[in-house]
Amino acid sequence: MTRDIAVVAFAQSDVLRTTEEQSEVEMLMPVLHDVLDRTGLKTADIDFTCSGSSDYLAGRAFSFTLALDGVGAWPPISESHVEMDGAWALYEAWTKLLTGDADTALVYSYGKSSPGSLRDVLTRQLDPYYVAPLWPDSVALAALQAQALIDAGATDEPALAAIGARSRAVDNPRAQLKGDVPQGEYVVRPLRTGDCPPIGDGAAAVVLAAGERARDLCTRPAWIRGIDHRIEAHSLGVRDLTDSPSTRLAAEKAGAFERPVETAELHAPFSSQEIVLRKALRLDADVRVNPSGGALAANPMMAAGLIRIGEAAARIHRGESDRALAHATSGPCLQQNLVAVLEGDPR
């Protein structure tokens, strides 16, 4: 059975350096109400709910269960959770809709990086035998990748600075970093503060719907033409850090190379990673990359990937794009990559 499935609504919070005055569910709830209001759906109308978040950000076990208060989880609902970015929760919801078991799905994700030290927290996702005991932080690992790109002649520090500047010179009211942001000092050389994502708290949500239900809920649904995710070998020393074969394979399976896209929302937390992704996705210079500003403007952990899908879909909803690519990543140096291809109805 094949069904057409679309993103019919997208909402996100402002991304802020800290939201300590709010619990996770207090931060998330306005976003859930916003996304439902856009479709006119009530929580009881949703067939399937899937979320993404991480206990390591919260510092508490089963932290996602408290956020369930925000979706009206009593009486019991059909619900699932991934300990990953919400883009992977969307993938699970998409497969659920494909089976025909559900016609509508609510996908949300959130992360508060402010309670902990994000660079330390992210070391805990690394190989626990050979890597994590050395505590290499997320910037250090991205810097190794950036230096490999520079050595390969694929970029240089001024080119990286230009990516940072372009990403922050966008009109995105939700973004954390906007305008003329200084390139700054080295964090871990060759990466400067301007090459690194801001650390912030935020949440995002989308509603998916199948077939005619999508047309009922949205005047111009963003149809998911393909979606796929792939992973690299976990040992960094096995990989060619200047390339991303997993992104290329996911894009191929998602149908990204069948015809050109006009817009690409790439989840590249570090400026150097945009170089890798542009190459893997064969994006020409005329593709609008990250009109939202991307992860260099706002990178709420666990939500930034879902936001890429949401931003790409919202451009289709508004009629600003007909075919868009969205990419999400997780893990060090683009370890895991998801690619979705979205299209609006022909005009």
Partner: protein
């Protein structure tokens, strides 16, 4: 509105992990100043070694010794070392392809500054003085301008192999419970129990978390509940918890405070454990300096009628 509460939260755990045959050989080797790799089906040598070929997923066990000298394949200068990292003075993170290996190992390089480091730099292992069978048995790498070292041809078999590691992990947080729970905890400091009413279903949640889980809407109207309440259900605890100064057996119960839409939990005291019952009327007992009720004790009122609390079980 008073400021939200904040407190340090330390999450710490000594993860104790067992090793497979390949990891065991590699880490036993480091303890004995030997670096081992593993051969893949297509003849490549992986260092650090893994148990399954990353390309074919075939099980691989063919261990081979490589040299403790090698070449930097990429690097990054870390001018501000962080807690737990291999060196406390500025150093370079490096991926090093050891002589005889086809893949690279992540570690630290001790160098005087970024100008002394480049891709292609020749380096060698600096061994830690005390070696236990862990990746940190390599203290770091250091620049090296000699010839490649000759690997010894170790078979990978050890008389007393390392079979596990303990990987201590510690993360520091500043925990904030958010607006609703801060208000609840602040009220407790005045010996009041405050819930929040759902604007939709009118149920009063205590402790409040800022959202009604039935309606999925924010709660904000504060409602004082109690102090009296009714035991809705209970259990008798016979195991003494570590560091807990309460004699067993004791009773732990669910208590529906008067005016609350659901029960919270607490210890029930002031009555023999075998006389606690559903419907028992109780009130909180505060101790000097206590930040929450120490326990609940009988009020002496007649038991509540089942009909009055059956929805709160």
């Amino acid at each position: 509105m008073p400021a939200v509460l904040k407190a340090p939260l330390v999450v710490e755990f000594p993860f104790t992990r067992s090793l497979g045959p390949v990891q065991s050989a590699f880490l036993s080797g480091l303890r004995d100043r030997v670096v081992l790799g593993v051969k893949t089906g297509d003849g490549r040598t992986l260092v650090p070694p893994v148990e399954y070929d990353p390309v074919t997923a075939e099980e691989i066990r063919d261990l081979v010794e490589v040299a403790p000298t090698g070449t930097v394949t990429t690097w990054a200068w870390n001018h501000e070392p962080r807690r737990g990292q291999p060196l406390s003075s500025p150093f370079a993170w490096v991926l090093v392809r050891l002589d005889g290996a086809d893949t690279a190992l992540l570690h630290a390089l001790d160098a005087p500054g970024p100008d002394a480091v480049h891709t292609g730099l020749r380096v060698r292992v600096r061994w830690a003085e005390d070696r236990v069978g862990a990746i940190t048995d390599i203290a770091c790498f250091e620049p090296y301008d000699g010839d490649p070292a000759e690997p010894g041809g170790h078979s990978g078999a050890f008389e007393d192999p390392v079979t596990g590691i303990v990987a201590a992990a510690r993360l520091d947080y500043t925990y904030s419970p958010g607006r609703a729970q801060s208000a609840y905890i602040n009220a407790l400091s005045e010996r009041r129990n405050v819930g929040e009413r759902c604007p939709s279903c009118r149920k009063v949640y205590v402790p409040p978390r800022g959202a009604c889980p039935t309606c999925g809407v924010a709660t904000s109207e504060q409602v004082e509940v109690g102090p009296g309440g009714t035991v809705t259900t209970f259990c008798i605890v016979n195991i003494k918890a570590k560091n807990l100064d309460i004699e067993v057996p004791y009773v732990y119960g669910h208590i529906a405070l008067d005016g609350a839409g659901l029960a919270l939990h607490g210890r029930i005291g002031g009555i023999p454990y075998d006389q606690v019952r559903m419907g028992l009327r109780v009130e909180p007992v505060w101790t000097e300096g206590g930040r929450f009720p120490d326990h609940y004790r009988p009020t002496g009122e007649p038991d509540a009628d089942y009909e009055t609390y059956k929805e709160l079980l």
